[in-house]
């Protein structure tokens, strides 16, 4: 399983109720069900992936986070997960607000646009960066709102969202992000994983 999912699952306390927003094929959901979580739900926009999840008996509904999070009552989940999809929304701001409304704690992961390879691509080649985590060209990318780990920190500060924990993922390497190493981690991390609370 992806390193990212391992980090996410460590955040999650046993026997909690979890909503995986953009659950994909349900790999993380299955892992959580097998290991510690009793109750996990998924929301997924792709019909193909929803069918795969349902074929595995997972409680997944077809829908998108911008319209379909509304139906979940306030604080109805212990954890809400959003893995690498924040940048694809029309309004990431609204989605984060809704995630924090629905979940007591929220786990968000973002592909870091501040990574040095990304910066170098733009600086040296003068082209929009194409990397392992961001494999699209500018004209076909679903990613409308790319941000850096620093940007996300600033966003949470402005919105008075409490960042409980933040983890940097660089290849297989996992490390903590702190306010003192933030500039550096923003340069070397491929992925940022955040545990948030309102």
């Amino acid at each position: 399983m992806k390193k990212e999912f391992k980090v996410i699952s460590k955040f999650i306390e046993e026997k909690s109720r979890v909503l995986d927003v953009g659950c994909g094929d349900g790999i993380l959901m299955e892992y959580l069900l097998k290991n510690k979580v009793v109750d996990v739900r998924g929301l997924e926009i792709s019909k193909e992936k929803v069918k795969k999840c349902l074929s595995k008996g997972l409680a997944v509904i077809e829908g998108d986070a911008e319209n379909d999070l509304k139906q979940f009552p306030d604080l109805s989940f212990d954890f809400v997960i959003l893995s690498q999809t924040l940048q694809a929304f029309m309004s990431p701001e609204n989605v984060i607000e809704n995630l924090l409304r629905v979940g007591k704690k929220v786990i968000v992961t973002i592909p870091n646009f501040g990574h040095w390879k990304v910066r170098l691509d733009l600086l040296l080649k003068g082209e929009m960066p194409v990397t392992k985590n961001l494999p699209y060209q500018w004209y076909n990318t679903p990613n409308l709102h790319m941000c850096t780990i620093q940007d996300f920190y600033n966003f949470c500060n402005n919105k008075r969202v409490n960042i409980y924990k933040s983890i940097s993922l660089n290849g297989e390497k996992i490390s903590n992000i702190t306010t003192s190493n933030l500039k550096y981690k923003n340069l070397i991390s491929e992925l940022g994983i955040f545990l948030l609370e309102k």
């Binding site: 109720r17 069918k51 349902l54 074929s55 409680a59 997944v60 509904i61 009552p73």
Partner: protein
């Protein structure tokens, strides 16, 4: 034909009471020793208990033959599938065609107006008769889906899994309108005679056929019709400048109407469409559909179809939303197809495979947990 006689008194929504009445059913596969593999299937408006194999009355495939059978979505090698006819129907259950022992004549329109609630309350007795404590699943499409919703609401946690397909929790104005069109076609046939047509065996076939033709259009999608028939002509090279069936679609609808009258009773059509129109589970729970499923432990799987404009995705999603509002276990997918509302009865592999996998994995997961 299998049937049970329900001796106990059932109070209908209209206020009348019925007792000692027949309910026809059919079963497929075998109930296992643990009695944990039973699935109750509800049929739609013109369906019957013969879901799988060859229907012994019509000699045609059962109405859900694509989905029910060995190795199919509802795998009868694995599950014990029960399909009950509805009261008000004409396939052996208590309905307007039943002979009233007091008068020795068919009941006709003296039959009470029934509801979806009355139907499932009658069908529930079948479980007592078959000694099934808990169902693995309840499933049905269209009116069958409405029965699924009513059943899980009336008998919470009697079924571990519920599959309402292409249905609604509250029959829409448009659907009431189409049903009214069908009923008016029947009632304006001079052979209908206020529903007392049985004696001379001259049935309101024309009215019933028109009702079926109109309804049949609502079961298909515009795109599906266009692709299948387009403006193709029926066994002729040019227009005939008359009112015969010039177009294939006309001929097709006429055929659908004519075969329908051979197997369906006009009064049953009136009663069952009325039951659908009266169905409003939301209103039954004071405008809050979530209350219908309060404290449910049932696992729901709701399915809609992209081209179904009769029971559109939005209405199916309302059920999903009501269930999510109370934290119920619910899955939902909208299957992409151009086959319209009828998709649930047809060979739509995405639909059939997803149900099959969902049921099989859920059944084994439930068993694992128990061990």
């Amino acid at each position: 034909m299998k049937n049970i006689i329900i001796e106990k008194t059932i109070k209908l929504d209209c206020g009348k009471e019925i007792s000692n009445f027949p309910l026809a059913y059919e079963t497929y596969g075998n109930l296992n020793e643990k009695k944990d593999n039973a699935i109750l299937i509800f049929h739609a408006l013109t369906g019957d208990q013969y879901a799988s194999g060859i229907n012994p009355i019509t000699k045609k495939d059962g109405w859900w033959n694509y989905a029910v059978g060995p190795g199919k979505s509802f795998d009868t090698d694995k599950f014990f599938v029960i399909c009950a006819n509805v009261i008000g129907g004409c396939m052996g259950s208590y309905g307007p065609g039943t002979i009233d022992p007091l008068t020795n004549k068919p009941i006709g329109t003296n039959f009470p107006v029934i509801t979806i609630n009355d139907m499932v309350n009658a069908q529930y007795n079948l479980l007592d008769y078959l000694k099934i404590e808990k169902l693995f699943a309840v499933a049905g499409g269209s009116m069958g889906g409405m029965q699924v919703l009513q059943f899980v609401s009336n008998f919470p946690n009697k079924a571990k899994v519920a599959l309402p397909i292409a249905c609604t929790a509250s029959h829409s104005a448009q659907n009431i309108a189409f049903n009214e069109l069908g009923r008016q076609a029947i009632m304006s046939d001079s052979n209908w005679k206020e529903g007392l047509y049985y004696e001379k065996s001259i049935n309101p076939d024309k009215g019933l056929a028109v009702a079926r033709m109109a309804a049949h259009i609502t079961y298909l999608s515009k795109q599906g019709l266009q692709e299948k028939f387009g403006r193709n002509l029926q066994e002729r090279s040019d227009l005939k400048f008359g009112f015969d069936a010039d177009f294939q679609i006309e001929s097709y609808l006429r055929y659908q109407g004519s075969v329908f009258v051979d197997r369906f009773d006009a009064n049953s059509y009136l009663y069952i469409t009325r039951a659908m129109d009266y169905f409003d589970l939301t209103k039954q729970y004071g405008g809050n559909l979530s209350k219908a499923f309060k404290d449910t432990k049932t696992k729901f799987f709701i399915i809609s179809f992209t081209s179904d404009w009769l029971y559109p995705t939005s209405e199916n999603k309302d059920i999903v939303i009501a269930l999510n509002a109370i934290g119920a276990d619910v899955g939902f997918v909208e299957i992409k197809t151009d086959k319209g509302h009828d998709s649930f009865l047809l060979e739509v592999p995405d639909f059939l495979n997803t149900i099959k996998n969902y049921l099989n994995t859920t059944y084994s997961k439930i068993n694992e947990k128990r061990i």
